[in-house]
Amino acid sequence: MHSKADHFKENSRRQLGDATLQQNMRRFGGRFAQARAVAMEELPDLEALRDQAAAIRDRSLYQLDEWLLRFEAQAKNAGITVHWAATGAEVNRIVLEIAQAADVRKVVKSKSMVSEETGLNEALIGAGLHVVETDLGEYILQLAEEPPSHLIAPALHKNVEEVADLFAAHHHTPRQTDIPSLCREARVQLRPHFLDADMGITGGNFLIAETGSVVLVTNEGNGRMVTTLPRVHVAITGIEKVLPTLDDLTTLLKLLPRSATGQSITNYVSLLTGPRHDDEREGPSQSHIILVDGGRSEVLGTALQPALRCIRCGACMNHCPVYQNIGGQAYGWVYPGPIGAILTPAYLGLDQARDLPQAATLCGACEVVCPVRIPLPALMRELRQQSVQQGLRPWRERLGVRLWHWLALHPRSYRWFSRVLIWGLSKMANAQGMVTRLPGLDGWTQGRDMPAPQGASFHSLYRKTSRKTS
């Protein structure tokens, strides 16, 4: 996917000005957060479980090469062809080669964020293949030609009227506006595609090293469809998704659905281990897995490594006040919200997403809910520090900080400057004592007024009082 992450300010300004989007984001509100809170009450030992989950993910990451090799050996044993892709372009090339060798015409996809990273759909469509997204949210976005705005509810920013318009225009059916009918319509439209597709493409929520399995965690059943009906299955997932054992999976599955949608378990959890057996009459006859680096290995061993623990539940964005206002598409690439503010610069380079680590109030809600205890605010601060060190901040900001630095070291000038500033601000205040516009900082005053400073400064008060008392 082509990144627009370096235009974060324009993106978010546009999203904030979009009345429909703002209304849709208000409706989204705290629904996921509420559901999560209720579901977590079922777990008496939540904090201990989060410790375990973080430890499991760290164990995978600190010996990532060994677990990947173990996974590869077991997967090969089960008849899976294992591919490794260093870049997104390589992922697309491998999928196209598999498709061409197997004479594939139609591809059905279940949700895969990694394929969004690589821009797989465009590559496949460009090569003349018919590609159909089958997750309802992804299907809506395919019709709308838009990128996803949330990890687990990709069309969260669309309302029912918008979906009704899209379906009526693309299905040439009477427009219906109740949600169950629209879901039914999608089922009816997509069923034939499942039945006559040649290839099914999925992501992978986890890889299990001890069995060589790909794990899919889904609700709609489309993940099962695309791995049961087409004759070729390709799973695409990041190298960091490997877990050593099935017991590790058990622990993480207690947290993933609860953190994501507030479900104690999703409707389907599927462990896929290879192609159909000789005596089976269904299931893919070819099974492939593509292990994708795409910038992940460069994050290992750095201060940002904890971000690789992420299990893509979306809780951080569901609790983020910034995300809830600007929506996922403002982040400009595949991963929105707090985790996106880390992963996008980590995978694409900080110079490609300079403003994302700034897109936070550092309120810390994301860290409090993260099931694998990623210290998101600390990682954002780390990236902020790196962007200063690499000289990536705008000149006005650098100049401002430099001036402040000099003033703070020169108390006499500091006092003189603050007197001038107080005088200036009180001159700018209106009758109610509020400053409504600050030149150069109008972004700040657009939505609120600043009270003008009143009375004397702390320094002068202190001097006055200490003279009196001495």
Partner: protein
């Protein structure tokens, strides 16, 4: 030219070399010391959880009563008295004389009802554990709008961890599916709608071990 596989492994090793290995004081899997719950507890918990997730659970006193109950149920729900079944169920269901028209094969698009057994069932989450094989094709629990699962009380386990031990008794299947209720989506305005791509109705006949 170096392969991507070697390149990726090389990068990982270079990055992790000299990295401080995390203090492993937290045992990722503390062993549970709880005794296995009684059958009554398991049964009740399974029924509560499965019902909460939208499955319809019916208790059937004996295994022999299952075919008649199935027939009555399909009639009550105004479904055709016709179903696709796991071939593994043929020796059991075929010997009973009912008005049911049963086909023992993988599911086809026109099948309205699919009947399966289950490998084991998890009480903690109300989950059916299904393994695919020639005799237990996955499509039977996926394509039909109504999925009926025949579950023996003897196959109830407490949690997912216990189900791994159960599964390890047989060779690993191509696909192991944990099914917890009818398929659903909340992708439009976060409104939960039952019946997405998989079955819209899951009926569980939980039968006892009495002869």
């Amino acid at each position: 030219m170096i392969s991507s596989r070697d390149l990726i492994l090389q990068r990982i090793r270079a990055r992790l070399h000299g990295a401080v290995i995390h203090d492993d004081t937290i045992d990722p899997q503390p062993t549970s010391v709880l005794p296995a719950p009684s059958l009554e507890v398991l049964r009740q918990r399974f029924m509560d959880k499965a019902s909460a997730l939208g499955s319809m659970v019916h208790l059937v006193p004996t295994r022999d009563a299952v075919p008649t109950i199935l027939e009555n149920l399909l009639q009550e729900l105004e479904l055709p008295l016709q179903a696709v079944c796991w071939p593994a169920l043929a020796p059991w269901l075929d010997q009973h004389h009912t008005r049911l028209n049963l086909f023992f094969r993988p599911a086809e698009p026109a099948d309205a009802v699919g009947v399966t057994g289950c490998h084991c069932a998890i009480a903690d989450t109300g989950t059916l554990v299904l393994r695919t094989s020639a005799l237990t094709p996955g499509s039977v629990s996926l394509l039909p709008e109504t999925h009926v699962a025949l579950v023996s009380e003897e196959d109830l386990v407490s949690d997912m961890k216990a189900s791994w031990r159960h599964l390890a008794r047989e060779p690993w299947a191509r696909s192991v599916n944990f099914v917890s209720g009818p398929s659903r989506t909340a992708d439009i305005e976060q409104t939960v709608v039952i019946g997405a791509h998989g079955p819209a109705r899951v009926i569980i006949l939980l039968y006892g071990s009495a002869p």
